[in-house]
Subunit: 389 residues, 2 copies
């Protein structure tokens, strides 16, 4: 998403911090992904950003949705999304949420353990389940292994157990890790998934769904493979390893790659100070009000208004709360002349930002505006500017 004149004007006039969302980027990301993977069905991972403008945009595009809880199901039902467009992708579900989902028409449920199979069998008899494979995710910025998924042999046992329990073993999912840099990880994962398909086929269990998870990266400060490059590897691997499966459905669950580039956070410098030899810059946004992922050193592109061409110096960048964990980056190169009240933008912060925001220290979570809302709010301003010109 471009740092437009509109956003720069808004940052000067409105109270910071705020996050601007541009749903036209979401549309673009949706079509790029659709066009990159053959016959892919997109299940947007609601947890990445559940702002109504994003959910409504994707609903109107005909997207399906990956949900993590009853709360997300209700949010989608409230905007008229049919439950047959939802998949319950969390492998750790409350039993009453499973029941609620099933009774309201959700058909697909993720599993990676025997116990989860039992919970689904009790509450959603006959549901379609897909098993999650664990992947090593050394090449991703936000690894998801360990907590989720299991190995292929265990997964085969789990899906056979699901069948005995009256469920429909339906597919295999994996997740290469959020913000994954190595496109060959998808190839490796599809190969492993195909082994599960094959071994179960020999036991007369025919899986139908390959769920590619998420993990397609968004450009921040490091170069990343494009969705088209990743799509090409996926298409090739699906043909090579799963070409034999009749009526295979290929599902993708993008979160970050759908909305990461659709947001820019605007904040202001509250304080610049010296601590020993280190220069600290404090902003009105921090870890607990929108930038949670920075605690794991997730690196956003940072732009200081009007000082894009200044010489830089290594400083520490922190948020406004009385908590030392609220330090955004211990070391970041910032303009040497960064000063009080300067506007600081975090680019491509549409995913996993406002979703993690708290009211800690009595400070409000980052406000969220759509581009349309900003245009409406700043109408007078633009008129004024035009007249002045």
């Amino acid at each position: 998403m471009e740092l437009t004149h509109l956003i720069r004007t808004a940052a000067k006039l409105l109270e910071t911090p705020f996050l601007v969302l541009d749903t036209s980027c979401v549309k673009e990301n949706y079509f790029r992904l659709k066009n990159s993977i053959n016959n892919v069905e997109i299940f947007y991972a609601v947890k990445a950003n559940s702002h109504s403008s994003i959910l409504e945009t994707l609903r109107d595009l005909g997207s399906s949705f990956d949900v993590a809880s009853k709360g997300e199901i209700i949010k989608l039902m409230d905007i008229g999304v049919s439950t047959d467009k939802m998949s319950f992708g969390n492998t750790i579900k409350k039993e009453k949420d499973i029941k609620f989902a099933w009774e309201n028409g959700v058909e697909y449920f993720a599993v990676d353990s025997e116990m989860e199979v039992e919970k689904i069998a009790r509450n959603a008899p006959g549901a379609k389940v897909y098993g999650r494979l664990a992947m090593s995710s050394n090449d991703s910025e936000w690894p998801l292994s360990g907590k989720f998924g299991t190995d292929a042999d265990h997964l085969i046992d789990i899906l056979k157990y699901a069948k005995r329990k009256g469920l429909v073993p339906y597919g295999v999912s994996f997740h290469v890790g959020s913000q994954s840099y190595n496109k060959y990880k998808w190839k490796e994962a599809i190969l492993t998934a195909s082994e599960v398909f094959e071994k179960l086929h020999k036991e007369r269990i025919d899986l139908k769904m390959l769920n590619l998870g998420g993990g397609i990266p968004v450009q921040h400060t490091k170069p990343v493979p494009s969705v088209e490059e990743i799509g090409a590897i996926i298409n090739e691997s699906v043909n090579e390893y799963l070409g034999w499966v009749d009526g295979l459905r290929v599902i993708s669950e993008p979160g970050r790659s759908m909305v990461g580039s659709a947001g820019i956070t605007a904040s202001r410098v509250l304080l610049r100070s010296r601590k020993g030899t280190q220069t600290w810059v404090f902003l009105d946004v921090g870890v607990f009000h929108g930038l949670m992922e920075t605690i794991e050193n997730f690196r956003y592109e940072v732009v200081v208004e009007g000082k894009e061409n200044s010489e830089t110096m290594t400083m520490t960048l922190a948020g406004p709360t009385c908590d030392s964990v609220d330090t955004i980056y211990d070391e970041i190169d910032l303009p040497i002349d960064i000063d009080y009240s300067d506007i600081v933008y975090f680019i491509n912060t549409g995913a996993y930002t406002n979703e993690y925001a708290t009211y800690f220290n009595g400070i409000e979570p980052v406000k969220v505006y759509t581009v349309q809302e900003l245009e409406e709010m700043l109408k007078g301003e633009f008129l004024e500017n035009t007249e002045r010109v």
Copy 2:
């Protein structure tokens, strides 16, 4: 706070997760601190837990309050706390918040930099400022140095600068680090603070306030010094190093030590599963819905209902979201027979829990009940139990 029959009954009957708060513990903690430090004035750190039951209890006890933002000031004003009982302790303030505070009667402001002095001088002319010393905090569980405070010489310059800017240099504050294990840290800090008092006295600036910050620990899994032991060291050090200061005010800003022991979190096991050789236990509460401090390996006492005497085994304990950061403890000894739906308590979770909770994954933050609310809700149950007996 004791794991009472009331809480155990509530955990069986109510939806989990929830946090029970017992304001009688807050009262006890207040009086213990009052009685441990000579003439201490208590400014409760609202950020630790801003639940209305806690703020009202402390208001009724005559406590003052350490606030971090305009939001906290308004919350206190709304329950009738006078602004002359508030100190604006955040060293990173929004300028309009300073103005709001000053215009509404807040008199005391923390500083640790020249720029903050300028902001206060512009918006709160004549205000009393206290300078924050940085302390090394190797003996605490949640260190606060680096981000906050500065060295004694710099602080002296800052307080002199404040005077030139028309402010009243009023005192020195420090913070030994949250959950500090070494009682001698307070002695060291008071000695350093006394040097600031002395050097400024020679320049005819007479400070009046010693602000001891917070950091008094709560008992979790390690032995900690008692508030009485810490108080004895503080009294001795104040006499020794600052006995010469006429009309010295001694301030304490307890957060954790006031409310940590006043809360118990109740949750349930959603899933037990095997991942390779490791056993994982997943709860309906996690890092993002109430147990944020565990990401820095903050160790709570964990009790599994009815399995207190079981043999234990090392397992991994995690929360319910689709995020691997939502792992409470990578390694924790849990009952070998812990199972689906078991109730799991986190003891002494009254501080820095609900304050950090989010709606991530569409899951509600931990619910909060007071003991009185639980008693009201479970009245029928108790009656029933009594009749059965």
